[in-house]
């Protein structure tokens, strides 16, 4: 198989990410990896729920006084939108529109950075209130759960940027189509995890 063969929109296959054996393997392997990641986050969520509001005696922090929903709601909307824009990017990949894909991925990346900026602001705000990493079991489990998600955002951003730069002049091939596809899967996964964080940590923390 010639990996650098040039395709036209007419010859481009319907599922470019799964034409080669390498592509099929990446596709399946990445889904399995996300299965493991789910268990990883499940462990973090379980720990957070066990340690929520737990701290040294007389601790002043609790979820209903600490968290403020408006900021987190904006973050949620930004990340959900970025998931939508990455779907547009994949749509353009299927239609062999390279420029369209790169543009939508760029928008996805910008939204990702906006989310990350707000998260850093939020963490910084908590630390200034005295809610530091080592303040209590509650703070440790909160920062570890949400921070691990934030780390995933950083990795996802780095990955997508690298893909965009690497392939900017090469265009589509059956070699890089699976890479784009798995990167977008990863981005969706990050989004899904955030939906759970928004619900379990913030909504149930303030309202529940």
């Amino acid at each position: 198989m010639d990996f650098n063969k040039k395709y036209t929109p007419q010859t481009w296959p319907d599922h470019p990410e799964q034409v080669t054996l390498e592509g099929k393997n990446k596709f399946l392997g990445f889904w399995l990896f996300l299965g493991g990641e789910t268990v990883l986050f499940a462990s973090l969520f379980a720990t957070y729920l066990a340690l929520k509001n737990k701290g040294p005696s007389g601790m002043e922090f609790s979820t209903d006084t600490l968290f403020e929903l408006p900021l987190v709601f904006i973050m949620t909307m930004i990340l959900l939108t970025s998931s939508l824009t990455s779907v547009y990017a994949m749509y353009h990949m299927k239609n062999h529109n390279f420029r369209g894909m790169q543009t939508w991925l760029a928008i996805t990346v910008l939204l990702g950075f906006a989310f990350l900026g707000l998260e850093i602001y939020e963490f910084n705000h908590y630390v200034h209130l005295g809610f530091t990493y080592g303040q209590s079991a509650f703070s440790s489990s909160f920062f570890t759960l949400v921070g691990t998600h934030g780390l995933h955002v950083v990795i996802g951003l780095g990955w997508i940027i690298l893909l965009m730069l690497r392939n900017a002049k090469r265009g589509f091939s059956l070699y890089n189509a699976p890479k784009y596809y798995t990167a977008s899967l990863y981005w969706h996964f990050i989004d899904v995890v955030w939906v759970f964080i928004f619900t379990v940590v913030y909504l149930m923390g303030v309202v529940g």
Partner: protein, 620 residues
């Protein structure tokens, strides 16, 4: 092709192994590294038994004893048993399903290097201020209080090695799902492939909780976290849950491939189709599933309450059903077979009563009220050594003899092999059978010595003598290997003469591309079917001879791992040395940088052309 490989110089050979992505060479490295750790863990076991050979002994101090038992357990589970099984999975599974390599050859190499560097890092603790000393389970209330860096080495080393195992698990899953030869349906897969499949699925879902548990331990000990410190609102039981949610599937990750190996051996040397193949597959999957439902039976005495204890007790006992199915299927495979008692077969025959004994004591402990009596006594030590040594280690030793001709094209001496078996087998029962009674007499586990007036002297001495027998058995095996390697007599094709599955159909030595033409699988035990029908080649081909695509070698997996190894030192000395943070950042930068290089560089592999394949006669 294979003739070129033989003429390489020493340096070129080393470089070849450092950069290889070939599953057969990675298998050899897993076997060699795992074997080395097995010997280290064995020496630690001998030190334990020397210390306990007589009452009030001061051969080692109490503190050193704690370090030795911790490292013995950790080394044997993570660095010996699992990697050696990974070695056999790598060597055999792709050949059994008719694949040219695993799905991700690059990740396969990365997984190996992560395991090796993690293991080295853990063992460096001996020379850098003391080994971990909180037991292989490293319960948080103990491990947080442990001074020095021992526990830090444990947490960081296992984190690195565990990442390698996780990668390997995904790799095997994708290989089995996507890369089976035409005709190799799921219900025609050899049992070793099936057990590799289920064990890999267990790895996929069991290792993330360990990762998180170790992550918490690292954060608590080195970065100011408060997960387990109850004065800060933490909860030490969280560690126990996370550890056992990993830890119980882990024992099935070990025993299922062992079951697979024995299933192959019983069919091969009874010269008979495996009895109840479908029920064997069903039992394997069921054991894998139930393996996730029973972790709290390690925590009966924690105080989870009678309801939780009852549920977990019943679930635990349920596992006896599929396991019993397997035992009867093996017995019925032997029954009426034309049996050849070779060394692997001897191990298989010895395995059945040994493992049944271990299983029965397991059922005893599953009864939660009785477990309150047995908990943390030598009865537990006896039980888990009966299943791990009587199951996993016997399988590993059997597989070393069984697959040596496949991996190295040499036959280990059958005579010495049988000596190894008898020494090891007798020594094993001598060591551990009597420990059941020590436990019932009240001897707690993990004590560094006992008093002369407690009535435990004789039984402990007998146990220590048994350990010496096992050591002699292993030494004979090492001698056997050295003699075989020095003699270097080619074993030839189908060395056991009655091979049933695809791996025995390949000409020896196995060409680096495995199958010149992808085989067509016509049934369970496809090689046996072909031989019965008088097919001289032993295979029906699914495709005409054509170019083969192969992956390139790469040094990146090694560098990527080296980065994490360096970063681990930075984390270890965090808050103590000025250079800690720069080293941590440097290490992670090396790893992330090499990932970027891997991503940016084009690496399409290469093709072996049809003409070259026609000229390459393979083995003979």
């Amino acid at each position: 092709m294979s003739s070129i490989a033989k003429k390489k110089g020493f340096g070129a050979t080393i470089w070849d192994y450092l950069t290889t992505v070939d599953h057969k060479k990675i298998a050899v490295m897993y076997l060699a590294a795992g074997g080395l750790f097995f010997v280290i863990g064995g020496i630690e076991a001998m030190l334990i038994r020397i210390q306990l050979a007589q009452p009030d002994n001061d051969f080692v101090s109490a503190g050193l004893f704690n370090e030795i038992i911790t490292m013995h357990g950790t080394t044997m589970i993570f660095l010996a048993a699992m990697p050696i099984l990974f070695g056999f999975m790598n060597a055999v599974m792709p050949l059994q399903i008719g694949a040219r390599d695993v799905a991700f050859p690059f990740l396969n190499a990365l997984g190996f290097w992560l395991f090796l560097f993690g293991g080295i890092f853990l063992n460096l603790s001996w020379f850098m201020g003391g080994a971990p000393d909180a037991g292989w389970t490293s319960y948080a209330s103990l491990s947080l209080a442990s001074p020095g860096h021992g526990i830090d080495f444990y947490a960081l080393g296992l984190q690195i090695a565990g990442a390698g195992t996780y990668i390997g698990g995904i790799n095997f899953l994708v290989t089995i799902i996507n890369m089976r030869a035409p005709g190799m349906t799921y219900m025609r897969m050899p049992l070793f492939t099936w057990t590799t499949f289920v064990a890999s699925a267990l790895i996929l879902f069991a290792f993330p909780p360990l990762t998180i548990g170790l992550f918490f331990l690292i954060l608590d000990r080195m970065f100011g976290g408060n997960f387990f410190d109850h004065t800060m609102g933490g909860n030490t039981i969280i560690w126990e849950h996370l550890f056992w949610i990993f830890g119980h599937p882990e024992v099935y990750i070990l025993i299922l491939p062992a079951f697979g190996i024995f299933s192959e051996i019983f069919a091969l040397f009874s010269r008979k189709r495996l009895f109840g193949y479908s029920s064997m597959v069903f039992a394997t999957v069921l054991i894998g599933f139930l393996g996730f439902m029973v972790w709290a039976h390690h925590m009966f005495t924690v105080g989870l309450g009678p309801t939780a204890n009852a549920i977990f007790a019943v679930a635990t006992m349920a596992i006896a059903v599929p396991t019993g199915m397997k035992i009867f299927n093996w017995l019925l495979t032997i029954w009426g077979g034309s049996i050849k008692v070779t060394t692997p077969m001897l191990y298989a025959l010895g395995f059945i009563p040994s493992f049944v004994a271990g299983g029965v004591t397991g059922i005893m402990q599953a009864a939660a009220p009785l477990d309150y009596q047995l908990h943390d006594s030598y009865f537990i030590v006896a039980h888990f050594h009966y299943v791990i040594v009587g199951g996993v280690v016997l399988a590993i030793l059997a597989a070393v003899h069984l697959y040596w001709p496949l991996m190295f094209n040499q036959m280990l001496s059958e005579k010495l092999g049988k000596w190894t078996f008898w020494f090891f087998f007798i020594g094993f029962h001598l060591t551990f059978f009597i420990q059941h009674f020590l436990g019932l007499m009240g001897m707690p586990r993990r004590v560094f010595t006992f008093g002369a007036n407690q009535g435990w002297d004789l039984f402990n001495l007998i146990s220590s003598i048994g350990a010496a027998f096992m050591a002699v058995g292993v030494i004979i095996l090492v001698v056997n290997i050295i003699i075989t390697v020095v003699k270097n007599v080619p074993a030839g094709n189908d060395p056991w003469e009655d091979g049933r599955t695809l791996e025995w159909a390949i000409p020896q030595p196995v060409p680096f591309y495995n199958f010149k033409q992808t085989p067509l699988v016509r049934g369970l035990d496809t090689f046996w079917i072909e031989k019965q029908e008088g097919n001289k080649v032993g295979m029906t081909y699914a495709e005409p001879l054509s170019d083969i695509h192969m992956p390139n070698n790469s040094f990146i997996p090694f560098v990527m791992t080296l980065g994490l190894f360096i970063a681990a030192f930075g984390a270890l000395y965090h808050g103590e040395k000025d250079w800690a943070i720069p080293v941590l950042v440097l290490g992670i930068a090396i790893t992330v940088g090499s990932m970027a290089v891997r991503s940016i560089k084009d690496d399409h592999g290469f093709h072996i052309h049809k003409e070259d394949l026609m000229n390459d006669k393979g083995g003979k």
